[in-house]
Symmetry: C2
Amino acid sequence: MARKQGSHAGITGPKIRDAALRLFARHGYAAVSMRQIAGEVGVQAGALYLYTPDKQSLLFDLMTSHMEELLSAWDAADSGGTPCDRLEAFARFHIRYHLDRPDNIFIAYMELRNLEPENFAVVEDLRDAYESRLVEILDAGRADGSFDIPDTRLAAKAAISMLNGVTTWYREGGRLGRDQVEAIYWDMLRKSVSAMPETEALDR
Amino acid sequence: MARKQGSHAGITGPKIRDAALRLFARHGYAAVSMRQIAGEVGVQAGALYLYTPDKQSLLFDLMTSHMEELLSAWDAADSGGTPCDRLEAFARFHIRYHLDRPDNIFIAYMELRNLEPENFAVVEDLRDAYESRLVEILDAGRADGSFDIPDTRLAAKAAISMLNGVTTWYREGGRLGRDQVEAIYWDMLRKSVSAMPETEALDR
DNA sequence: GTCTATATGATGATAGAC
DNA sequence: GTCTATCATCATATAGAC
């Protein structure tokens, strides 16, 4: 019965993470002070150290939990089928997931250099794991002849770069809706890995 | 005859720019101090202010001069021909240019948020101008039927994102050489914008 | 669990000697 | 043209009151 202490017990930690995520994404890790984060949460700077040992751990935790959630979300979303089906699912999943979490991807791709070496290695491994999910799909498609890809590792990097780009310009309520953007990116990706003839006929 | 002063007159300025470029790219604008830049050049921190009014101007100058050089280099490289020829030239130019200047592109794409609003607007315009060069090529190709692109503005963004990605992983002396990388990216880009049939025959 | 107060050092930028 | 010295401010992180 007696719930311990108050209705807001245990929410300061998440609030700190949310504020740090937003501020790091907006201004960059190095440009954000612990005082700013504390100010957003509504506590004093010193109070942050009850929830995180230091600023670096805050960044590291944000990045690893993002990558772990991304990986398990994709593993849950990957429903199998042909390589082409799975590639479509991957592309649409990736775009949707990141458009819903623009701050996360901003940090995950721009704050790598602010991680201390040991932390960087951990995050790098998680990033490789995600990329490998895509490589595996591309390998399967190359094996069964649906894809024509000289180097699946490179193609995976290129595809992820292209899909990530959407978060740098997409704005809710803009010229194109989410579904349209998703469909157009998927169409470009589909064609880019597909077997198709040279376009010599068009070179006048 | 009398050359004014010494053999190193006038080179401190460029040395400061070089050091700032390298350090900003490696650690980020906010994480780099004026003392670090001065240390790299071999002068004291105070001496930097003979060459730049402040740190922000240093970043702004690096970004604008990079974008202006990029634009004029492309305009000189664009030798015309069919839209497909020009797109190939663009892709290969973009990759080569940026692999030669990894620090520049790092700054140009990651330090936008550290620009003050007025400076940001200027750099944004230069970036738009570059993107528009590509849009124009895509429009021409769509008009003559060589490309099948639902939205050329979006396709240009996607293409540039994809091509930019190369700078995040390419290392000299790695598994793939520059020419191979260039060729593979161009092939993916070529296919992604080309008219090609649905791959229904391959599903299942 | 949050506060105030503080230790300790780095920061961007300036002034003035040489 | 570069130096030393300095200003005022900010940083991360800690100690101890309540």
